[in-house]
Subunit: 346 residues, 4 copies
């Protein structure tokens, strides 16, 4: 029966895959069993962050040398979701998710399924077409994982596309705004697949404006390095080996320590990985006190956010290897976000 | 009998003293009773952060308009300790410490005493002369506050000098290094006054090298805006009104959430102010995981640190108005720091 | 007869007015004769640059101590145009423009006139109301200077308002966009006053979109520190003493070295001050080669621009004391800008 | 006879080698003839700039696919000198230097020779051992190019090593200081090979202190990506085809426009490539006016420098494709630097 394995590995720099290389060499991981990679590189997390591309190229080269497939074929099959920026307490690392063939242990366990949408043209980004595609891909990934009920889904991680060049047909001519629209559309697509929002209201006109619509189980990043939506679903399913647990909890705002602690409580055991999303409160204040994240000419708002959110989650985890990503449009409550913890059950 | 009052006030920008102006106008605060101001402005916290000077000029102008003294005379009497940098969850604010004349309430309460050393010439910064001066000023401030035992001291906040221009006689020709030496000397001076370190070992040769020597109750900042060491001591003393409590706890490292919680537990009640010090671990790792604070060309290590430490402390406080300052040489354990909480006893 | 005097002074930090203090003390400058101050402080030039406010506060305090007027009254009378950001070769400095009473020397010379519009409410920023107001203030300032023909105007420097807080009635809810609209409206107002653009086309709908409309003699900055448009006009007029000359030339793009040289050739003599405006080419390329100013997460586009433009102008001047400001909407050709040189005729 | 060919190519991002791929495909360039690559990527140019590694990985992969050699073997043979940071007017690009086999055209032309030293252990960096090695490698590269006289050398470009991890035996424990020492040692090594400095004085004790010792023809960068000194020499030699010319000139300070113009005048024709080195004046002033490059907490001194120097050189070139690199220790006059121009003779 399939068994999910999670390996959390350090990197000395964004092109350093030596820890995975060691695991492949000693047989701990088989290249053909790798289904997704989620990691944090030490760039600035913005448009001109090339640490993501460097890591991806290095990863695919390594896997190609093992499987005989081309790097391009591997990239079209294995979602590689990277977030740049390891501000403050954060530590550069990546999580390798593999599905091994195990002897039966238990009846039901944490499952993983992936699905890629068709290519999303620039004109469809942030539109109903993308929402619908992500909704269907989420259902498809659930199906492949054998997750039958939406309430069994723990987290849907999506890497959504952004156009590499301006397109007059696009919903926005501002590259950063279009990336936000892409994240928003993917989040709403997930929310609809999971039944978290009403279909009639959760349409393209709601994106970035109807903020009370959100998913508590969607974590989305967007980037020019992909041209379609790459979807990874985690949830519980029959027929998967036991041993790995996962929990997720929303954060009401950036200082919601109890929310972070709830996510860890929901996945008791040895922590194998943590994913967190958040955003600077658009009102310019947190619990009534002014913050300065949104108007700093020298330090990007997302770098501010990751440094703060990352430190809080890392302090609870006791470990800086936390995947923290900004841009939490429709992902968790506005001004807040969510935390997902993977652990080996003790 | 004297009663310590703490007012925590917001600022819209570094020249905005309007909240204090209101308190002065309505009589809540009397200008003549203000003994110290400690605050965070929204600059970058570095050599070219002028928000500290702007705030100080604005503060002294306001107080001068009330007391009739000159701004220079006020600055020579009232310690004004500012730290630039409100990264992440932090909120620009300042704490006004006043000593009112109260009717007797209780036998013993939190006391405040201040003392200024003589001018420290550039050649004495980071030398035994500065250590001894700060040690004596700490004792003098304790005496003025009526704090008789070193164990009754909660926190010693010092603003230490840095030369405005290079001086061939100085211990270092590097402006940033000299600021660190000044903080280190002041911290060791406090540690000696409080009996936290052995006198024979805690001398100028130990500065920045014998890191196991530190004070758990010293919080030091340095800057070119002062030419002597300005010392503020907080502690318990007979003859002061009850009502305000303070607690302090060390942080073993940046992720020491329990340490932060211990400081809040030591000062139960309505929080009136929080002071925290910390530093990026010099080893380049926290609990074995690499951090990237020390090698980032774009984002200064202290900005990284304040964003992370500030968020953790703010998450425990549930409030972004936390005074967080980097440069914690000999202030708390190496790679860690300390947290001090002021509260109104409930 | 009136004689324009220009004093270019250095500052050690944004609160340092000591050089002007010396000139006031020794009688070189009389406080009552100061008509405008234009300077560069060493901040980041963005929303959170407080070096401008610090300098202005310090300047007005100094002048108030000399004239007996209040700082507020002085600020309402003397335009103080500051641009933050002294990247690269640039040097922090300020130019004091005074009008002295001189014995007659010549028939015609460089004249200065100032005019303030009424307060511009947030809803009028970037609208026809602001365009018209600046057009009329430009004419009024010309009249006060005695400049009778538009072709005699060399430069119109405007400090335009930005609202301190969001206003639902404003043309944009994005603070940076509104600052750009304010600069654009003021530039078009100047262009209309000088007859450089057709009135019917140069209306609010043209702002930031009809880029071929521009003034070659307008230099605009905007900021929350002013609530109206402060206009300073320089040009030649009868009845002013000889001795100072000024020249202006457009820059076709950022690399237009010949344009810079033309401005210096137009004002031969000992250089007393230089003002330059420019902007990162919106196409993302200069003469067909990609630039990276607009997509850098770590370094603001305007900091990129000032460092580059400032160095080119400083290299021609042989002196880093150049007032360089970004945000050149409708000020000089798109992607380019303009340079104005003041000199003492030899 | 050998003929030097220079191809200046644009990149859309640091992993984009498509322009070279096109030239290889259409036969304009043969992979086996490539001898050196010198380029500018759009990172921050500091310790955490990974755009250099990403480009190098991509380049070597491409060449490996053409030549059949391994990427590692290619990297050990072809110097790839990259400088991160395309501030302001600068444009990301790379210059491919190839040596073709041409039919005889002329008697004497611009020649290129390369040489690699043995691995330099950390303890030898910034020591006489490195100076001597670079001196000998420079002579060796001259020999391979057939350049017989030192006065025929135009430029020596060196990529010098920096240790990837701290080493107790190293001359400095500060990573940035050690990189500077490595550049300094390589520059003095070149200067000695070219007879520009006296051997007895130009030893390890002179590095970073005896600044009047310098080469006017050395351009050095250092980085952890190399473990030895990679030397590329350009100069005139018999037996090379005519057609390409090169000129070099020192810059006395950052504003030395005449120096830049002299370099272009020394290589008349269609510009094929430009290399410039410079540094922020350590005195804190340029021609007596204070600059702020060295004390900016938010913007690294080298980013300031490249933005300014790059713009001046690009303005003279009329083209942003200029290789500008900071860290000009002993490379050109202190506070200044040098400019080298390659052109196709018209």
């Amino acid at each position: 029966m399939p068994r999910l394995a999670i390996h959390r590995l350090a990197m000395a720099h964004p092109g350093d895959l030596s820890e995975l290389e060691t695991l492949l060499r000693d047989g701990t991981v088989r290249a053909g069993e790798i289904r997704a990679v989620i990691g944090k590189t030490e760039g600035n997390g913005g448009l001109n962050d090339f640490t993501r591309g460097y890591f991806t190229q290095s990863l695919m080269l390594l896997l190609a040398s093992q499987t005989g497939e081309s790097p391009a074929a591997l990239a079209a099959r294995i979602p590689c979701v990277l977030s740049g920026g390891t501000e403050g307490a954060l530590s550069p690392h990546y999580m390798v998710f593999a599905v091994e063939d195990a002897e039966a242990t238990g009846q039901r366990g944490l499952a993983l399924g992936t699905s890629f949408t068709n290519t999303t043209p620039a004109r469809d980004i942030g539109r109903d077409a993308q929402i619908t595609d992500v909704m269907e891909a989420t259902r498809s990934a659930m199906g492949r994982a054998g997750i039958s009920r939406t309430e069994d889904v723990v987290l849907v991680q999506v890497k959504a596309p952004a156009p590499a060049a301006p397109d007059p047909a696009a919903r926005s001519q501002d590259a950063k705004a279009l990336m936000a629209l892409s994240r928003a559309a993917a989040a709403i697509g997930v929310a609809r697949a999971l039944g978290e929002v009403p279909d009639g209201r959760a349409t393209e006109s709601a994106l970035l404006s109807d903020l009370p619509l959100y998913s508590n189980r969607a974590s989305i990043s967007s980037g020019v390095e992909v041209t379609c939506n790459e979807v990874v679903v985690f949830g519980y399913a029959d027929g998967w080996a036991e041993g790995i647990v996962a929990g997720v909890a929303p954060m009401a705002d950036l200082l919601d320590l109890a929310g972070v602690q709830a996510a860890f409580a929901a996945a008791p055991g040895e922590v194998l990985g943590v994913i967190a999303k958040g955003e600077p409160d658009r009102s310019g204040a947190i619990r009534g006190q002014r913050h300065t994240m949104l108007g700093d000419t020298d330090l990007d708002a997302q770098r501010h956010l990751r440094g703060a959110l990352g430190a809080i989650v890392a302090a609870v985890a006791g470990d800086g290897r936390v995947f923290v990503s900004g841009g939490a449009e429709h992902q968790g409550p506005p001004g807040g976000g969510l935390v997902c913890v993977f652990a080996r059950k003790r």
